[in-house]
Amino acid sequence: MLKGCRVRTFVHVLMGLIVFCSSPHLLAQQQDANEPGDFFEMSIEELMEVEVQTATKYKQKISEAPSSVTIITAEEIHKYGYRTLLDILNSIPGFYTTYDRNYGYVGVRGFGRPGDYNSRILVMIDGYRTNDNTSGSPSIVTTFQLDVDLIERIEIVRGPGSALYGSNAFFAVINVISKSAKDYNGLELSGEIASQDTERARITYGNVLDDDLDLLISGTYYDRDGEILYYPEFDDPATNNGYVENDDDNFKNYFVKVSMSDFTFTAAHVQREKGIPTAPWETVFNDRRTRTWDYSDLIGLTYQHDFPDDLSVLSRVAYNHYNYYGGYVYDDGGTYVNKGFCKGRWWTGELQFTKKLSDQHKFVWGAESQYNVRQDQKTWDSDVYLNDRRHSKSWGLYVQDEFRILDNLILNAGVRRDYYDTFGDTTNPQAGLIYGLSDDTVVKFLCGKAFRAPSVYELYYDDGGYSYKANPNLEPETIKTYEVVFEQAINKNLRGTVSGFRNEINDLIDQTTDPSDGLLQFQNLTKVTAKGLEAALDGKWNNGMRGRIGYSFVQTLDKTTGETLVNSPKNMVNFNLIYPLVPKELFAGFESKYIGKRKTLTGNYTDGSVITNLTLTYENAAKRMEIQMGVYNLFDVEYGHPGFGEHVQDIIDQDGRTFGVRLTQRF
């Protein structure tokens, strides 16, 4: 009760602060929103580094892309107070997230399959694939390799991307681009305390050491004790009346980037330990030994050079490492811990040439290969149930041509062929016709095919007749997408996008029970279609204000059952606004998202919910110091996400209102 009161007082103070700050300064900001005098003090070299945002930027950058693209900038990540990649992706029109209090999952365009480990999206850091080589899963919660503060921008490309990127680029490609040394030019320390006994500290150093040598090094420590949670499904004296205390989350990560002329060396590491409070897989409720550990490493070298005659060469080599350990407590008269691990080690190599053949043709040619040194899975307690060791390789070749047929008509077509040890080969084409009706209006017609290779987990997970059996004959699942995108620059500040799409998914790899022996097995079973509409209005103003309203509608149909999919909200609305309360000093980041009801595995529905976050950023609290305050789930809405097959909970409750305060100091 007392806590509730304190919370309410805090919200009132915040609101009061906003009203107080916004009213007297509204007039002032029109005079000093910018400091034009400063530009005249700069040299040409300095001026060349000044970022100015223009409406035409959209025309050059996004509008000619053969897909529907959303770009999230460092400024947005900062001012909306996003804490994980999951938070960021939740803000994208057409995207939604599911959190089971251990891992976070992203749904795209009505498709958020329970237990798909996000393997139907490809997540890259600076062009390096981060999806692991056992389950095909990228890490997007606290397991993500890069601290979100270090993100320069994220390019979110909807639709099939296999024609360029191969497997996993099924629904979307998410390319995270890290900041560089010159974004820091010195040392930055950041500390945060937040609800649920959360502490977070970051130290970052970035500097241009020499004309040609940039160094960025950063480390983050995060620890959240978590709160006592209540699950009515376990409300029994034998299971602590449904109360559980096992929601702790702890991670450390580091990131190093060194650039020397055309070479960039990147190293990233993250290790996380997370308690699982939901007692999945029929484990003992409220036992703190049920938890997972995730470790991942990326070491990569990129070479990029622009040669004369419009030829550029890009080459990447990377070594990746991913370990998962899980401990699950069972009761068999006495309790014991069942353990499992995945160990992945793999090399990737890529070589890409881009050549402008004439004013009309821009040609991309590339080859990519992956050698999986280890893809091991093991499950054991007193017995060993699974001990599977694998290694494999795959490679792909791709070509793409951007053919400028007319000044305002571009045909972008590409195809990629992939070879896998496991299932053979697959060819995936993609084409986009981009037509500029006027300087302000662009229409795109897009179609393409993508695939996802079956993961080692889906192919070989077999616990010796207890519950799972292997299926080494799995084929890749495929998707065909047809899309029309209409983009309109309304004025200097506003840009509208409307798109309609249709997805056809075949041979979807799904878990099913074999009636002959009652064991679970992955099979190429399901056919799914989805059709939908997305509309967004983006605004950007020179005083630092920017906003977005997005609406998305999607209707999914499982063709084998004739029903809509589980965890597939039909309607979503999001509203985002960064508003300068005091120009260049105090900003409010307001974000609100409505996600419609979602069907659960038992055929019930979660309630539709509007979740609102508010972040205030005071940029010049003291010399080079910044204070940020965030309130998440501002109106303390009770809501839940659908549970997965391993959960007793049909709906998993999400956090109520939480707070965070962050102090950042630059030196």
């Binding site: 509204l26 910018n34 005249f40 040409i44 001026l47 930027k57 200097k492 906003g547």
Partner: protein
């Protein structure tokens, strides 16, 4: 459903109300301010022929055709001096719609061109994505006069302009037609040429920079 509608309406209202309060500000664009600062720097790296430097008491004249925004952008340097000379900004209102009549000896047109020739720098400002209908004709009329023509549209150099602004990754870049500069008897110093994204050295031949 009712909740979504209320929510949508409120969101839209907030965005547009918020947009309204900053409208005045957005017109005074940051892009123009940065470009004005570029122009200010360019003047240091361009040498005009003697005929244009007779009297050092005379200010350096920057003429603007098109969008007015540059005038505001230049405000902070009203009292500054470059090369020991003050700067005077002239706005040629209505010139963006200037038309040359078919009469070869169009008196009015010629008179206006003579006025433009007195400028050191002439900016064709299309910040607001407005077109300047006869910019190429104006450039043609000025081509032998020592006027540094600056534009911000694709193809500006090809139509005979000297410096053109372009955007790359949200940053301002520029390209130079050194052949046109030479014809206008302007000497562009090598440092500026080096920083340009692209330099046209001779008519027809385009040099690309890495």
């Amino acid at each position: 459903m009712a909740r979504i509608k209320v929510y949508l309406i409120i969101s839209a209202l907030v965005l547009f109300l918020a947009a309204d309060t900053v409208k005045a500000d957005s017109e005074n664009s940051r892009e123009c301010q940065v470009k004005a600062a570029f122009l200010y720097n360019f003047i240091n790296f361009v040498d005009w022929p003697k005929e244009k430097q007779v009297d050092s008491n005379e200010p350096i004249t920057v003429g603007i055709i098109g969008y007015e925004d540059f005038i505001k952008a230049f405000e902070p340097i009203k009292n500054k001096k470059i090369k020991n000379r003050s700067i005077s900004i002239k706005y040629f209102a209505g010139y963006e719609k200037l038309k040359r009549s078919k009469d070869a000896d169009d008196h009015q047109w010629n008179q206006k061109m003579e006025v433009l020739k007195t400028c050191h720098v002439l900016v064709f400002c299309t910040c607001n994505s407005e077109r300047i209908e006869n910019s190429s004709q104006i450039i043609k009329a000025l081509k032998d006069s020592p006027v540094l023509t600056v534009g911000e549209t694709k193809g500006f150099l090809e139509s005979g302009g000297v410096i053109n602004f372009l955007m790359e990754d949200e940053k301002v870049r520029f390209e130079i037609n050194n052949a046109a500069a030479k014809q206008a008897k302007l000497n562009i110093r090598s440092k500026l040429l080096r920083l340009a994204k692209r330099v046209i050295e001779e008519d027809g031949a385009k040099g690309a920079k890495d």
